[in-house]
Amino acid sequence: MGKGWCLFFLFWPVAAVVSCAAAPLIGWSFPYDNAQAASNLGIRIDNLFYLILAITAAVFIGTQAVLVYALWHGANNRDERAHHTHGNHKLELIWSVIPGAILLFLAIYQMNLWADFRFKNHYPEAAVKAPLAEVTARQFEWRFRYPAIGKKLQPKPQPDDLYTVNELHVPFGRPVLIQLRSEDVQHSFFLPALRIKQDALPGLQIPVWFEANKPGVYDLVCAELCGWGHYKMKAHVIVEPEEEYQAYLKNLTQQQFYDGLGNIAANENGSESEAAEK
């Protein structure tokens, strides 16, 4: 009887480990392109993930193996009485210090990565100097505001700014910075491919930087509950080479300031509604 149960409790961790090991092979892993992050920071995050995965896998296999072994013995214990003990100080010490050391190591190990991602004084200077765009989340769409070509992004909207909805173009190969804000409730700027996530908080303007290293079209989704349409804040981030990006901006300027007579009225106010594509 007892042995059957031991097998039952053996079966499940084995299944878990096997499915985890098989996961990358059958695509149950990070999304896109061979589970490779599309940014260097993302790759570092993935590596941290794999490190933790290795540690936790070892801990998981270890604890489950010992558990099943102990159960197996306990089930077959023919002694009249169990072994009488109230504990063992040395053992307690060992199994407090070792996990403690591992955890402390993990905590310290990741600090740099976190600092690079979020500490303002670690942001790449080039990106901070010329923010790419302002991203405004609202129920239930993403709005983007680029500065006019050759100008700098101002905190307040300017008449010659360029606007798009639900489509953000980003050049690759250089770090870029967006100013994230929200017009109504809380949203979250989630770019799975780049392992970027940052909530858009009403009342704050949060700078987020990233550096895409692969061209492509990536999904941008909202990861903070923002109302009934939370699931449909669907947008794309299009990562393209610098020239294409510049061309895109030019094109956008033309579209937005076309006065219907074949002229580009670059300095008149570009109304939002005109720019809204969808």
Partner: protein, 135 residues
């Protein structure tokens, strides 16, 4: 304790007077209007806050120790009250970096209002030197 209650009785009234004096003291701090001054290199508001809160703590201690008889209680009072106070203060301190100070750009329109108010105040001051109510 009941054998010495006469003694305690006298004490209660002196505690009461001490509390009144403290209250008077904090009103005095308000009246001399420390806010506008800059004493010993300290921002007036901070100095005022430190002073009146110190007075408040003194008062609180009086009430706790004598009126609430903590002086006569066993050691459980420390076990109960010290974690509470640590948690209560810790809570405030822990949320200060997020809400009391803004790490990211504060977009509150009030900041613009403040700017506008300063401008108009400067204008009206130039026009008529009367005190205007605008902050």
């Amino acid at each position: 304790m009941s054998d010495q209650h006469d003694h305690a009785y006298v004490k209660y009234s002196s505690i009461f007077y001490a509390l009144c004096i403290c209250t008077g003291l904090s009103i005095v701090f308000d009246v001399i209007d420390l806010k506008k001054q800059n004493i010993i290199g300290m921002n007036g508001v901070v100095l005022l806050a430190v002073l009146v809160l110190a007075v408040a703590c003194a008062k609180a201690l009086f009430v706790l120790i004598y009126f609430m008889h903590l002086k006569f209680e066993g050691r459980w009072k420390y076990v109960l009250l010290s974690p509470t106070i640590v948690l209560a203060m810790g809570l405030t301190i822990a949320i200060t970096p997020d809400i009391g100070i803004h790490y990211y750009t504060n977009e509150a329109p009030q900041i613009d209002y403040l700017e506008q108010a300063r401008e108009t105040a400067a204008k009206t001051d130039a026009l008529n030197p009367e005190k205007s109510h605008v902050e």
